[in-house]
Symmetry: C2
Subunit: 370 residues, 2 copies
């Protein structure tokens, strides 16, 4: 038999015993905190019907892995854990649930494995489904996310330096839509212009503007107006007071602005550190399904911004796409791979320094002799 | 937006909080025992290059899920955890390793979900790679498997009744090949005739004979001779002594018979209950990669045989298909789904009887109020 090419698929990797050890520890901490906050664990299939994933991810849909048509249903690997959760709620006719799920998702993205960007990677999701008083569930999701990040930061003093400081960028889909409307962006172009704006954390304004005008055909004056609004960010209280001075915007986005104000009141009541938050009008989140508050957590090092480690938001219409009963939802997804990479590196250094170079990879207590 | 068909793919299912609770407990027990026996945990990607899985599974290859060619590599979902492990050993140039892996595998089989037969299901694998004195690793794999099953049986007195008794069928690929040769089966037909013989635990001799003669074109006299040999089974010591009286067979299968005798000596030394074992000459295991001892564990109820819950064997040439360095391996795979189904059912009954019908599904201790 001829020898085949021995490698793993592009953008994937084997996880070795030393890595699994760190993962088990981290997943244990994460699960425990979710459960202490009343979340129940579920597991959904690694693939869904292709139709379940269709029209949920906007421009990112091109990254979905499809399975070959082998004479059965048309299937796709899950792209995230949010759409499967909405499908779960609809299928099981649940009207209320707090669930967490720790599982791998699949994206045919350009991998950058040295920066923790894979095609197969773990996410830890926490979501609250069901009717609740305005902003109560949203505030709770954010407070659980902070509890999560704080717990992970405190695993050891060694880790503490590694996960801090982090910052939570907040925006609201309705506020963003109001800005687009005010600037003159046509209804049908809002989602694609959103996707461009969302790149402002990685690309300079000139690139984003060029994409909007040259590629997407946005009028250049409209683009400039959009740029003026979306390039501002700052502490939530200051930002909200500043935006309230903009009468035309306030008229269009009264609901969103009140919701954000209420959210920060609740977060204060929940004793979540307010200085972690930034209201950032460039945060758009590319996915189609968000309807209300959206957020993203970034690690901030002294020299550079390391990148996003968590994200989420409210999605009130997704369950309704699968069911006659609308169930409002809000949730967050912890992109645990980057955190794990940081931990693995730290563990390795710690083990090497402690054991004089010898890393112990198992918890062996008894060896069967034979 | 039109509402899509809301269901999970055929042969898959959502796992609910109550099921996840049982799974976490069982996987915890399984992991702990593997680790106490010196095994290290790894994780491999859910898909492999299609070429990695080619020519490993015999007639079962048709059950492999392929991913659509979306302009990258040709990929397939893993069919088991054994071939990915051999690929892991080759890729990481390991010469010796004891590994365990608990993960889901994928088979486009006809699902029978009421009998625990899914298209996506968990396996718990334990394998020993590397050179060892004859039969030492084989005996250890079997003793760990028994330790595993005994531990799972002893989770509670309630469960004890459910997993016992089990029986371990043993055979040897070289012994089976010798039988085929002795009966006059041509070299090129051995694997396909093996697959037919392997069905003798589920189908009557007449069906199997018909398949061999009518479908596969085996001479009917040869088929009858094969039938005479492969329909015998019994306690290993008795069977070995009986087979040794067959001089032509002993001449052809001297190595296999000595290995089996040595294996049972080691199992006795390891204090594994000998009465669990049956030497069953119809056991063939369809997969192409086995080379030596093969085995299968079945649950035996007082009224009927419930089916296979574990299987494995020696595969000395598989790593060599991925590497210039041959690394002999032996391992077992615990088909944990059927055991989990039995446990879930028992937990449900237990919880209902204890709580008067109220099942507690989470470990909630603190509820955040907001």
């Amino acid at each position: 038999m001829s020898r085949v090419d021995v490698k793993v698929p592009k953008g994937t990797r084997d996880l070795h015993p030393s890595q699994m050890r760190v993962r088990k520890k981290v997943f244990g901490i994460v699960s425990e905190i979710f459960e202490l906050h009343g979340a129940e664990c579920i597991e959904t299939p690694v693939f869904e019907l292709k139709s379940t994933l269709t029209n949920k991810y906007g421009e990112d849909s091109k990254l979905i892995y499809d399975l070959e048509d082998q004479g059965g249903e048309l299937l796709s690997l899950r792209y995230d854990l949010t759409v499967p959760f909405a499908r779960y709620i609809a299928l099981n006719r649940a009207l209320t649930m707090r669930r967490y799920q720790i599982a791998r998702v699949y994206r045919r993205d350009q991998p950058a494995m040295n920066r923790g960007r894979f095609r197969e990677f773990y996410q830890c999701d926490f979501d609250i489904a069901g009717e609740h008083p305005l902003m109560v569930a949203d505030a709770e999701v954010l407070s659980v996310l902070c509890a999560q990040l704080n717990a992970l930061s405190s695993v050891s003093t060694y880790h503490e330096q590694l996960l801090r400081p982090y910052r939570i960028k907040i925006n609201h889909r309705e506020l963003l839509d109001a800005i687009f409307k005010l600037c003159g962006v046509e209804e049908g172009m809002i989602r694609t212009i959103s996707s461009s704006i969302d790149k402002l954390d990685k690309e300079p304004w000139e690139h984003v503007r060029k994409e909007m005008v040259d590629v997407k055909g946005l009028d250049s004056e409209i683009a400039d107006k959009v740029g003026e609004y979306t390039r501002i960010s700052g502490p939530p209280a200051e930002m909200l007071s500043r935006l309230r001075q903009d009468a035309p915007l306030t008229a269009l986005a009264e609901g969103a602005l009140s919701q954000l104000a209420l959210l920060f009141e609740y977060l204060q009541a929940l004793e979540v550190d307010q200085s972690l938050f930034v209201l950032d009008l460039s945060l758009a989140r590319g996915l189609d399904y968000y309807t209300g508050v959206i957020f993203e957590v970034v690690l901030v090092s002294s020299t550079s911004q390391v990148g996003s480690i968590a994200a989420g938001g409210r999605y009130d219409n997704l369950v309704g796409m699968f069911s006659s009963k609308e169930v409002p939802c809000v949730g967050c997804s912890l992109g645990i791979e980057r955190i794990l990479d940081i931990f693995e590196e730290a563990e390795k250094n710690l083990a090497t320094s402690k054991a004089g170079g010898v890393v112990r990879t198992t918890a062996t207590q008894v060896l069967v002799t034979s």
